[in-house]
Symmetry: C2
Subunit: 144 residues, 2 copies
DNA sequence: AACTAATTGCAAATAATTCTCAATCGCATT
DNA sequence: AATGCGATTGAGAATTATTTGCAATTAGTT
């Protein structure tokens, strides 16, 4: 069993919830790639292999994955909610191109440290960052 | 006429659009306070004084205000879209309390500089930032 | 005042998400 | 392996936020 499955199972057990087949499928699909995904994209991805997982179950499972710290909401600049699995990955920021939709991920301990300091000044306990920027990427700027 | 009205009128003229009564009411309500607002909140606020502005018109006017750089979308951590007027205000980040909903605004040239540098490395041209964090504020942490 | 294109409010349409509920499943205990 | 019971599921209805089509109205120009 993979690490993320163990973590999820454990999380569920503590809450007296069960690691069911649909939940397993959803979890493993999420961890099969490192793409960001909307609920619809995840649904389509799952449906390729499994005809028996409903949208409702995906909507019900995502909050559990978020609560267990396996995934986080991200790309909040976009219209629909998007998520990504974050377990095992460093915190990163997103640069989202308005023209082509490309997403550039950048890491920065420095930026993170500053944000943490700002929070500390206000005595604020940060649970989740939400950092992103919309703009135009290198390639698309060339085309103008 | 106030500065923001002039800017908006000018913006509209260039696009061959008209500064109508409903648009004026929406603009001035937005600039009457420095609160963040959802469409619904704005609608309620407007309705207190003007019974003749519809939701549809608000939905149609907001993109114009965004395009003319008078307001920006903000607080993307929340379920509904929120906006704030930004004309005449420095860029700032938000700390949003998950318990009580309180919003703390913090400014930081330092954080801004770092994000700009990161963008530069990737040759990315940032149009709009979207920086914030969810967590627990000072008061709510006391209560636990 | 007349003209013309932009704008409006309304109500219907769409889109995303949540809810309801009867049928089923997972797991602990026989 | 059968039983019992609460958790879970899928399907579709319901809800919420937003967008759209359209006939009537309005702003700004001639």
């Amino acid at each position: 069993m993979q690490e993320h499955e163990k973590i999820f199972e454990n999380f569920l057990k503590i809450k007296d919830l069960k690691l069911t087949k649909p939940r397993k499928i959803i979890l493993n699909t999420v961890f099969a790639t490192h793409e960001h995904f909307s609920v619809d994209e995840l649904y389509d991805q799952i449906r390729k292999k499994h005809k028996d997982v409903s949208r409702a179950t995906i909507y019900r499972t995502i909050p559990l994955l978020v609560e267990s710290d396996l995934i986080k909401q991200s790309l909040r600049c976009l219209a629909k909610d998007h998520y990504e699995h974050t377990y095992g990955h460093d915190r990163h920021f997103h640069l989202i191109c308005e023209k082509c939709g490309k997403i550039i991920e950048v890491e920065s301990k420095k930026a993170e440290n500053i944000l943490n300091k700002l929070a500390k000044i206000h005595n604020f306990d940060i649970k989740e960052y939400n950092v992103g920027a919309k703009g135009i990427c290198k390639n698309c700027r060339k085309k103008i």
